[in-house]
């Protein structure tokens, strides 16, 4: 089940003012008045996400088969699950971290030779090897060499545990402890104070930020070595490592994780469609096939195409036998294949069947959800929700069949509803050619489709006919360029929409433009930006 499915599509009567003809939910960096644009905003250090935690554990013990470990379900803030301010140390999380540490340590020590950097056959060797283990595992778990006081504490704890319980238990307790420390669980960032009051991240801190952003996992030895040699002290050095990480297969999962949340691919989940209206649809197989196709397409756009324009105007799709009907091409056997689609009907991610289906109901398309998707994810200008007490049901079909558009347009134009809905529906109605499965249609309820729309309150305002034309307009929009930068930067730093501002975003967007709006260059621009390399702190 997904959120989009339950965002009510319609307003019948309105009671209070929402939008008054201008865009913005008050949190867009482009439109927010009164926020400080002078500096970075102070936000708390990030804790590893569940995916980062799981990958890091596997990377820490590469020779060991670990049990699958999990953490309590993460919450979504502003579309992303990594918001650092909302990460709560709930009792359930703390309990689970203990249980996981025990499970991982126990599995790692089934054959200690797979984790120990040394042999320990005598009492003296047990002590020296234990201490070597502390430094070796500690360096990787903390993603930097241990400080001397840390070595002293962990060695002391190891010695005490060995005396009390013996060598194997002491090893286990060492692993269990390290896996529950803040140095492991958090990107603890001290930085170095600069003359302007900002704190520059240390090379090791940058290495972690880079690696968790681009790999969703801990730094490898080469990255730690680069940090140790001072290579990451300059933007040039950062760029070199960033390009190395991006060229590694681990980057593919990390980019996919971002795109899945940014483009709401995670909302293609458990969709149910009327069997009579949509005979090609199968509740059991279509959602998963569409989700896989959309994820593959997002990968393709990033890795094989790379330009922002491709996201908005490309006309290819990953088509399989399960999904061919929704793409409007002949069925194809075997695994999903990249096929050209009708460029008059398809326009990149905008019209992709998986997302069109995610923003629809069991019978009808959902113009409001589609409009909100574009406003929130591509223009960074979310509209506020309707006021409480407003009945949002779609008016049903009457004696004369009407299109979805006809049924909702009239009520949306009433009173104070019109302010927001002029903006939302102006975009959403442009998608009227796509039914609730994402398939192209020329008629809706027997009536010809009217897919004319208009952009209001953007830098590319004006009328358009259909989503392909909308894609062309958005591809020219500087606001879209800035929004895509904002989404990447927000995700890279775990920020909520109101925790980012123009000063942080604009330099990244400038580079993005200079690099021909190549999203891979955007990612490099993110890691070279001040927002990525510096922190501010309140005293």
């Amino acid at each position: 089940m997904n959120l989009a499915k339950r965002l009510a599509p319609l307003v019948v009567t309105c009671a209070a003012a929402g939008c008054v003809g201008t865009l913005g939910g008050g949190e867009s960096p482009e439109t927010t008045p009164g926020t400080t644009n002078a500096s970075l905003l102070a936000v708390p250090v990030a804790r590893l996400t569940t995916a980062q935690y799981q990958r890091t554990l596997r990377a820490l013990f590469p020779k060991v088969t670990l049990p699958a470990v999990d953490l309590p379900r993460e919450v979504t803030v502003g579309g992303f699950v990594n918001n650092s301010r909302s990460q709560a140390p709930s009792p359930a999380l703390i309990e689970q971290l203990l249980a996981n540490a025990t499970a991982v340590a126990t599995a790692a020590l089934v054959d200690p030779t797979k984790v120990l950097p040394c042999k320990a056959s005598t009492a003296a060797e047990e002590t020296s090897c234990g201490h070597a283990f502390v430094e070796d595992l500690g360096r990787r778990a903390f993603r930097r060499p241990l400080a001397s006081d840390e070595i002293a504490r962990f060695d002391g704890q190891f010695d005490a545990a060995r005396t009390a319980y013996g060598f194997p238990v002491a090893l286990r307790m060492t692993i269990e402890t390290l896996l529950q420390t803040p140095q492991f669980l958090y990107l603890t960032e001290l930085g170095q104070r600069q003359s302007d009051g900002r704190f520059a991240l240390t090379s090791y801190e940058l290495a972690s930020r880079l690696s968790y952003f681009l790999w969703n996992s801990m730094p490898d030895d080469a990255l730690l070595a680069a940090a140790g040699s001072g290579e990451l002290a300059t933007p040039v050095g950062i760029e070199k490592q960033a390009r190395r990480l991006l060229a590694d297969p681990q980057a593919r999962d990390a980019v996919a994780t971002f795109q899945e949340q940014w483009l709401r691919i995670d909302h293609i989940d458990d969709l149910s469609r009327s069997a009579t209206s949509f005979p090609a649809w199968n509740d059991a197989t279509s959602p998963a096939a569409l989700r896989a196709s959309t994820a593959a397409y997002a990968d393709y756009l990033f890795w094989d195409r790379g330009t922002l324009a491709a996201y908005l105007t490309d006309s290819n799709g990953f088509v399989s036998n399960e999904t061919s009907a929704f793409f409007g091409v002949p069925s194809t056997s075997g695994t999903a294949k990249l096929l050209p689609l009708d460029p008059a009907q398809r326009s990149g991610i905008l019209t992709y069947p998986g997302l069109m289906a995610a923003f629809a109901h069991s019978l009808d398309d959902a113009p409001v959800q589609r409009g909100v998707f574009v406003l929130d994810r591509l223009l960074c200008a979310p509209t506020p929700p309707p006021p409480p007490g407003v009945n949002q049901a779609t008016p049903p079909q009457g004696a004369t069949p009407k299109t979805t558009r006809e049924r909702i347009a009239q009520t949306h134009e009433q009173g104070t509803c019109a302010g927001c809905h002029k903006i939302i529906d102006g975009i959403g109605f442009g998608f009227s050619h796509y039914d609730a499965t994402g398939a192209w249609r020329n008629t809706d309820s027997g009536q010809p489709v009217d897919a004319t729309g208009s952009l209001v309150g953007t830098d590319v305002d004006g009328p358009f006919d259909g989503a392909v034309a909308l894609g062309q307009k958005l591809a020219q929009s500087k606001q879209v360029q800035s929004c895509v930068s904002t989404q990447w930067l927000r995700y890279s730093l775990g920020l909520a929409p109101n925790e980012i501002n123009k000063t942080m975003v604009d330099p990244v967007t400038d580079t993005f433009r200079q690099k021909g709006l190549d999203v891979r260059e955007l990612v490099v621009a993110v890691v070279k930006s001040d927002a990525f390399r510096y922190r501010v702190r309140n005293p």
Binding site: D70, S86, P89, S90, N100, A101, E189
Partner: protein
């Protein structure tokens, strides 16, 4: 990685009832003779009159249909405080009237003063329903939720139960939007557990058999000592790192460290002497869970049984169960997409919301939508029956010592946050008089704030306060309760 894992979260799966009883320190033979038999619980030995703990349970869902929510009158008279009969959506509760307080007219008054706008209409209520506080951004509340706030105070200065509070969800949290309703502090959201196996393991797992022989007893003690030592060492690292960091970081890490120390103190807490652990049927029913939402009604039942056991064993005193949403109940009520020209049950609930709604006069559609509410009332009844089925040492029942609040994220199908259809059950140990219909005056169309109700609930379970949540809309304990 949600289901069927063989990991730290699932290790108790398949544990036999005998094993469970032994782990709890309740001999299987003894337990067979004495269903609520003696255990080795650390709090069982105290002499003197039995102190029965007060518990609080939130049953969290959506809203109701305003026209059908209020109780009806008896014998031709309008419903009054002490003379009323349950309305048409609440017939499954018939027979329970004496243990209910039907409220009518409370508002989420904080919604009239909060900013900024929520991301959508469901986030609006979701951020306010249990926190009664303003939002700090479009997704997050600025305050702790009442369940967490009470749990933190009941377990201070030192923990009194193994689990401070349980947050369980049957189904998919329909419409819960981004963070959901539970906050341990402003901005700090926690999710509800959807997998009953994980929940069971959290409550009844982790107990080690205290052992019989001196060697076994020593080994069990050593295992506990090692865990405590590991936690203490980890917490010490937080103390070492935090002072070097900025204020925001420090606050975040200190909260984590404090949660570790709290767990350290909770490790030794065990079940109370009066303890009804889940039975064998429960453990076999756990296998019915597949994925969230697939068997939402039986998932709810598992959650309800787990909470009842957890309360009875004093393993927690605060819990929330999220009711299955209308989506999760589609097969239960016999709805399929397209019926009545509706796209889904979401659409259906909007179209049957009030007399202006499109399907109000469609008897078949209204019958189906009522089934959603009746199914939820049936689940609420099930919880009350379970709680009422556990006798306490003084002859009362677990329900009599629990405050149960059936609450939700919105009041009705138009996402209104006023005139909340919230029902109280149980007496919280005599803290409030039940068997009543509490209809509040609404001068200027405004009723008492739900902040006031939460003040009363906190007081009822022994947490003294005069204010909760947004102070500007809170006047103190709810008048009339």
């Amino acid at each position: 990685m949600n289901q069927g894992r063989k990991d730290g979260r699932g290790e108790m799966r398949g544990l036999s009832r005998r094993g469970l009883l032994q782990a709890l320190g309740i001999g299987a033979a003894t337990a067979a003779l004495l269903p609520y038999g003696l255990s080795v619980g650390s709090r069982s030995a105290s002499a003197g009159p039995v102190q029965i703990p007060k518990r609080i349970l939130f049953i969290y869902g959506m809203g109701s249909i305003r026209s059908f929510y209020p109780p009806v009158g008896v014998g031709g008279a309008p419903a009054s405080e002490n003379s009323w009969a349950l309305g048409p959506l609440h017939t499954p509760l018939i027979g329970m009237e004496k243990k209910l307080v039907i409220t009518n007219g409370l508002d989420m008054a904080v919604n009239t003063v909060t900013q900024p706008d929520a991301g959508n209409a469901h986030i609006q209520g979701g951020t306010e329903a249990l926190t009664a506080a303003k939002r700090s951004n479009s997704s997050l509340s600025s305050g702790a939720s009442i369940d967490q706030w009470i749990a933190q105070r009941l377990n201070a200065p030192t923990p009194v139960t193994k689990i401070p509070s349980l947050e369980l969800s049957a189904g998919c949290d329909g419409g819960d939007a981004e963070g959901g309703p539970h906050y341990i502090a402003g901005g700090q959201v926690i999710s509800a557990e959807r997998n009953p196996n994980v929940a069971f393991n959290r409550v009844f797992g982790g107990f080690s058999n205290p052992g019989q022989t001196p060697a076994e007893i020593a080994a069990a003690q050593a295992a506990l000592d090692q865990k405590k030592s590991v936690l203490e060492n980890a917490a010490r690292e937080f103390s070492s790192v935090a002072p070097k960091l900025a204020q925001e970081d420090r606050t975040k890490l200190e909260a984590h460290a404090s949660a570790i120390r709290d767990l350290e103190a909770r490790l030794a807490l065990r079940a109370s002497s009066a303890c009804t652990p889940p039975d064998a049927k429960y453990q076999s029913d756990l296998k019915m869970f597949t994925t969230p939402g697939k068997h939402a009604v039986s998932d709810f039942d598992l959650d309800a049984r787990l909470v009842t056991s957890a309360f009875s064993c004093d393993l927690t005193r605060v819990a929330t169960i999220h009711l299955p949403s209308h989506y999760d109940l589609e097969s239960t009520i016999g709805y399929t997409g397209g019926m009545f020209g509706t796209t889904d049950t979401h659409d259906l609930t909007h179209k049957t919301n009030d007399a202006n709604a499109a399907l109000w006069n469609d008897a078949a559609a209204m019958a189906i939508v009522k089934k959603i509410h009746l199914a939820q009332a049936q689940m609420f009844r099930r919880v009350l029956d379970l709680l009422d089925g556990i006798p306490e040492a003084d002859g009362t029942t677990l329900l009599d010592n629990t405050a149960v609040l059936w609450c939700g994220q919105i009041a009705e199908g138009g996402h209104a946050l006023t005139e909340l259809p919230w029902i109280l059950a149980g007496g919280a140990g005599g803290a409030f008089r039940t068997g009543r219909y509490l209809k509040f005056d609404r001068p200027n169309d405004r009723g008492p704030s739900h902040n006031d109700l939460f003040v009363s609930l906190a007081n009822a379970v022994g947490v003294a306060t005069n204010s909760f949540g947004e102070a500007s809309v809170c006047t103190g304990p709810l008048r009339g309760l």
